[in-house]
Structure formats: C-alpha cells, structure tokens
Symmetry: C2
Subunit: 193 residues, 2 copies
C-alpha cells in the first residue's frame, strides 16, 4: 500500500519512513505547501488543512494521504504558542519563550509537545486524527545542538535532558511525532493493509 | 451606495460608520466569521480572506464589501506579533509583550500599529488594499483603561500617552484603523460614488 505524506519538510518524511519500513508500509513524499488556518487548536488546523487538500487535490493525488502538524503547549501561557509554534519560533525564538517564562518555577514550567496526524483515506470522508504527545518542562536556558525549533528548551519528562541534548535516535523513540506516526502506522497495518 | 463590512466586531462597524456618515456613504454590517490563514504579513492575510469571501459568498452578498485586519508590529521582535496579534493577545496579553521587551530601550521599543482594509467591488477582481499605520513605542508598563487589546502598552508617537489613556474620540483621530478607513472612504467617494 502506498500512502502520500504531504509536507514541505523532507526530515519529517525520513522520520516516518524509518518507522513505516519496519511495518512494510511505503510512504511517498508529495511536496505541496497547503494553506494553514488561524485556529486555536492544532487538531482544528490539521483537520482544516486535510479537508482543504482533499477538496482541492484529491483528483491529482488519487490515493490516501496524510499531513502532520505539531506544536509546543506551555500550560502557564495558556497553551501558547500551540498551533502558531512555527511563526512564534521564527519571530521570538527560544530566547523569547525563556523571557516569557521568567519567574515561573516548578510545575509552572510544564509543557507538552503535540503532533497531530490527519489522514484522509478517501475523497468523501473527514480525516482521521492520530495524536502523539510528550510531557516535559521548559528549561531555564537553551541546551544542546540537536533537533530543531524549541528542542533546546524542552526537557523530556523527568530527565533534565533537553530534546536537543538527545541523539536523533533517542529522541525519535519518545517524541510526540514518533508517537503520533506509530499510532497512525499501527492503524494502517490493522485496518487497511 | 451601500457597502458591506464583513466582520464579527460591531465596534469596528461603529467606527467606520461615523467616518462614512460625514461622506454620505452607507455601511451595512454583515456578521460572518470567515477563516483567516496563517501568513506572515497582515496584507497577505487580508487578501486571502477577501478572496475567500468573494469566491464563497459573492452570490449571497451581491454587492461591494470590505474586511479589515489589524495588528501590532514590534520592530525589535521581527514585527511580532503582526498578523497573529489577536491570538498572541489572548494567550500572553500585554504582560507577555512587556516581558519580551525587558531590557530593550529607546529606539528598540519602536512599534507600529497597522490596519489593512481589503475591498472587493466586483466578483472577478482581486481586492484593493487601503493601509493605515500609526507609529509609537512600547511603554514600560500598561497604562490607561480605554481602548482594547494592546492599547495600554502602545504610546502614541512622541506623546508618552498610551492609546488606552486617550478618549475614543482622540484615539480615532489618529489611529491606524481610522487612517485606513479614511483612505478607503475617500477612494469610494472619488471613484465609485
């Protein structure tokens, strides 16, 4: 079975392909920059994006496809930056998040990384969602050279180690994205393969 | 001539109606919550929104219409929060912006309020834009009870007075929104009336 991953990010394609290869599922990359709506939840953005692609592009793709949307939710900041994580990272970076967290201690620094996979298997149905999360806390300062985005300030639950201090392999074992991809691929394996 | 203002905010309708009444232009309010895209410039968001409404709703409206989108651009933060101002205000508020600006002094605190009006006069043409801006700086702390959103931290150019410390009448004389509306209404008066 061939499934298309619609994204402009080849690194994400590599990550899901490694997980899929173990299960005998073939992932094909379709580079297409679809519009993303300003909505308050990552789930809502992913649903709207998948539906847009389904309506506009199904005739061209003519096969099951999925998209992925991820974000960082900081509980003390009302789940900011959430679905706007990419924009906020580009504008204020890790330094900006650390400033917003100044004076916040202990449990106030809790944060969640979340990935939503939205999968469309046919042209007439709403997308199915597969959600992966990982809990952690916002570090006191950026640490580590690995990963990307907010990884240097995200300490993985209870370890004191940031995602940027972990190897790609270590991170991929526990990350929100790999958890969402794994749920999604298991579903494919059980229901469609 | 009747022109529709598509917005979910009745206060904005009042503001443009006062300006329009002086010019003999009638503004009708159409309450419709259209989707807004995640794009990097307020102008791009406004164009996309107007085009969406034009394509989806022209048959229903069947008359010239406009929308409005506004935001705060802080130069030292790479024009953050820009088109995401409403979301950022809801999540981190004025307090969050003040934290991001900690340690920034003098010219580093410069900011611009911008309004973009996107006007569609017929179903087949791209929208026309009318842009109003006002220059100022981010105050050291929130001051004043008037206005809304980021008004308490926006000091109007050279006065040391925040938009929230000015009366509605004073603010409307110089605000980004009134400047954009005035440009737009003058255009209507000269070209279409």
């Amino acid at each position: 079975m061939i499934i298309y991953f619609i994204t402009s990010n080849p690194h994400k394609v590599e990550e899901v392909r490694e997980l899929a290869a173990d299960k005998g599922i073939s992932i094909r990359h379709l580079h297409y920059e679809y519009p993303e709506l300003q909505l308050d939840a990552i789930e809502e953005v992913a649903i709207a994006s998948a539906n847009h692609i389904r309506r506009e592009k199904w005739a061209e793709i003519n096969a099951p496809f999925f998209i992925e949307d991820s974000g960082l939710l900081i509980h003390a900041l009302n789940d900011f930056p959430g679905p706007f994580s990419a924009f906020v990272f580009r504008k204020i970076g890790n330094e900006g998040i650390l400033k917003l967290m100044a004076g916040k201690e202990g449990g106030e620094r809790r944060a969640t990384f979340k990935t939503v996979v939205a999968f469309c298997r046919d042209p007439d149905a709403e997308p199915s969602l597969f959600i992966g999360t990982v809990e952690g806390r916002i570090a006191d300062r950026a640490r580590g050279d690995g990963g990307f985005g907010f990884d240097p300030i995200f300490e993985y639950e209870g370890t004191g180690t940031t995602f940027a201090e972990m190897s790609t392999e270590e991170k991929n074992k526990v990350s929100h994205r790999s958890r969402a991809f794994t749920k999604f691929l298991n579903h494919i394996l059980q229901h469609l393969h």
